[in-house]
């Protein structure tokens, strides 16, 4: 009979206690695995998403807020920038593409973003292929046409032909507090494929639609005037606020990095706008997140240390309870090394089972967090079912179990056979 089988039988004999000890190990491993998996995939995903946008031009204010609102659609914009800037950037020879973002409304918690078809070209650059739509190759062509992201369509059950009424602002407020633009319903003309980018969580329409909804006339010289019939149909003709002169933000792609630096420097001198390199902001943001990650990992390791002592105490109690049985094994010819091996194997098995369960629950927790984050922000975290570092975690837990078993194993190794065999003992 092997030491492993004996260790296994002893483990089963104290199943509940050993399970609880393994749970302690599993809890620490769950935290470590989940925190590491979410952290690394968040970094990758956020950097991938932010990396698609070279330069963001937004109103003065918090750059983080500007990035969150314009890139990830999860915060209010910092304000508006002069429309003149859009014209200047379009005319600039160093600019390869400039995408306007016109925001101000939302629909059931999802941003309504006025933009141009170029936005989808940016998303296509990010995912490495053109963005498919249902029906194919259909985006907004006229005002009040809406293209909805895959996540929005899924969550709200929207389909082509549906009409929706946005509300002013970005919070999904109760009906009695909302300011709906009832006279300006959108018609869904296409649904975007799932891109795993923030585009999944927004509703897109033309830039002009947003102005129209907010009772603003098109800017002078705007090359894409609203169709008269559409305007007449949607606009009751009251409360007009003059011509539009601002836009929420601009996404700029330069022809070279030098062009981007020049543009950033020029825009930085403007009193009403700022130029932001999103990748830098996101990097800084991730640095802040590292502090939280460090705290979680600290707690995880602390839990693991507690687990270490839990295994040690459990095994010490087991060897004390088993003194007669250990003495019997010795009397039957088992060497002290075999007795120590049984104890070490038991401690390692407890740690290994805890660690394996911890990896499974940790990966599961990371997956659930990823689903939650995707629903909130559209960012998809690539949480793999298993990773090479999981094997390291299990091996580390095994080593921890072995280490925790050393003192109990030594105690079993040194036990006095004659004394412990005595029936009066």
């Amino acid at each position: 009979m092997s030491a492993l089988l004996l260790a296994w039988r002893y483990l089963r004999a104290r199943l509940l206690l050993n399970l609880l000890t393994a749970v302690t190990v599993g809890f620490g491993v769950t935290l470590i695995v989940a925190a590491s998996a979410v952290s690394s995939s968040t970094k990758t995903s956020v950097m991938q998403s932010a990396g698609g946008y070279q330069l963001l031009v937004a109103a003065k204010g918090s750059p983080v807020q500007a990035v969150m609102s314009s890139l990830f659609f999860i915060d209010a914009p910092t304000g508006n920038v002069p429309l003149e800037l859009y014209r200047q950037l379009r005319a600039d020879k160093g600019v390869a593409r400039v995408v306007p973002l016109n925001m101000g409304d939302s629909y059931r918690g999802f941003y309504v973003v006025g933009t141009t078809a170029d936005y989808f070209a940016l998303v296509a650059d990010m995912i490495g292929r053109s963005v498919r739509t249902d029906p194919p190759k259909r985006v907004f062509e006229k005002p009040f046409e809406a293209v909805v992201g895959a996540g929005v369509a899924r969550d709200l059950g929207l389909k082509v032909g549906d009409r929706l009424v946005g509300i002013h602002g970005f919070i999904d407020v109760p009906a009695d507090l909302a300011q709906p633009h009832e006279t300006f319903p959108y018609t869904v003309v296409a649904v975007l494929e799932k891109t795993n980018t923030p585009a999944d969580k927004a509703i897109f329409t033309t830039v002009e639609t947003v102005w129209a909804i907010h009772h603003q006339d098109l800017p002078e010289g705007w090359e894409k005037p609203l169709a008269t019939a559409e305007t007449a149909h949607h606009d009751p003709g009251t409360g007009r606020r003059g011509r539009a002169s601002e836009i929420t933000a601009l996404l700029v792609q330069g022809k070279s990095y030098m062009d981007l630096l020049r543009l950033s420097s020029t825009i930085g001198r403007s009193p009403s706008a700022q130029a932001i390199f999103p990748a830098r902001i996101v990097t800084r943001l991730l640095d802040y997140l590292k502090i939280g990650e460090g705290v979680i990992l600290g707690v995880s390791w602390l839990t693991t240390v507690v687990a270490f002592f839990a295994i040690m105490i459990s095994m010490l109690a087991a060897t004390a309870d088993r003194r007669r049985q250990i003495a019997t094994l010795r009397a039957l010819g088992a060497g002290p090394g075999l007795i120590a091996r049984i104890v070490l194997l038991e401690a390692s098995l407890i740690a290994a089972f805890g660690a394996l369960a911890g990896v499974v629950t940790g990966r599961g927790a990371a997956y659930l967090l990823a689903v939650l984050l995707e629903r909130m922000s559209g960012l998809r975290l690539d949480v793999r079912p298993v990773a090479s570092e999981d094997m390291l975690t299990v091996l580390a837990a095994l080593a921890l179990g072995l280490l925790a078993g050393v003192i109990p194993a030594y105690s079993a190794y040194r036990q006095d056979i004659a004394q412990n065999l005595s029936p009066s003992f």
């Binding site: 009979m1 004996l6 019997t328 009397a331 010819g333 060497g335 075999l338 004659a418 065999l421």
Partner: protein
């Protein structure tokens, strides 16, 4: 042979001479504290005498390393305990298989069938897969006897083998112990204060006569 208890310099056992013929059955009789168990532990190499020589089956135990003493016990000695001392998480069959794993005497392929055969010999063929807690005291001791025979030992040591049994079982277990040892040509050494057990043995030695230690301080 002298034995000093623990670290103290008091000689608790001093036996000038004791010889047991191979294949015989000998009883050690005496009250509790007379040194029966200590003597058995010395004979099995669990305790080491402070002076003198102990030779079992031609092996001088004093010349063995601790590891060799473990191997000696595994290969040449079978142990029957007063409190049965079965390994609780193992079945009857596994308890008998256990010592076979400590010695390389029974080929692996034959171990299971031998364990089964031994349990059948002690009338427990129907209890192979029961754990000790599911067996009566008498059945547990019969498993203990089967376990002691597992490695075909030359010497069977039984320390108060019936002391934890109901009175009605004493004769049955004593008879069984003697008969299986005879069948296997094993020497049987029984420590007991129970005449009902000792009457089955060929020879009985009184500890009072064997042990001349008077508990005085050793030199």
């Amino acid at each position: 042979m002298d034995f000093r208890s623990g670290g103290r310099s008091v000689t608790v056992l001093s036996i000038p001479h004791l010889a047991v013929a191979a294949g015989s059955s000998v009883g050690l009789f005496g009250p509790s504290g007379s040194g029966k168990t200590t003597l058995l532990n010395i004979i099995t190499g669990i305790l080491t005498p402070s002076a003198g020589k102990v030779s079992v089956d031609g092996v001088d135990l004093g010349g063995l390393s601790p590891g060799a003493r473990d191997r000696f016990r595994a290969e040449r000695v079978g142990y029957v305990f007063q409190a049965f001392n079965l390994i609780a998480p193992l079945t009857a069959l596994e308890n008998v298989l256990l010592p076979m794993g400590f010695a390389a005497r029974i080929p692996k392929r034959q171990q299971r069938s031998r364990a089964q055969e031994l349990l059948e010999r002690v009338n427990l063929g129907h209890r192979l897969h029961h754990k000790p807690a599911e067996l009566s005291h008498g059945e547990q001791q019969r498993v203990g006897i089967a376990r002691a025979l597992a490695n075909r030992p030359r010497l069977i040591i039984a320390d108060e083998p019936t002391a934890s049994l109901e009175p009605g079982l004493t004769q049955e277990i004593a008879r069984l112990l003697v008969s299986v040892c005879q069948d296997d040509h094993a020497t049987l050494l029984v420590a007991s204060h129970d005449h009902a057990v000792l009457e089955h043995l060929q020879r009985v030695e009184e500890m009072k006569a064997l042990n001349i230690a008077d508990g005085t301080q050793a030199a």
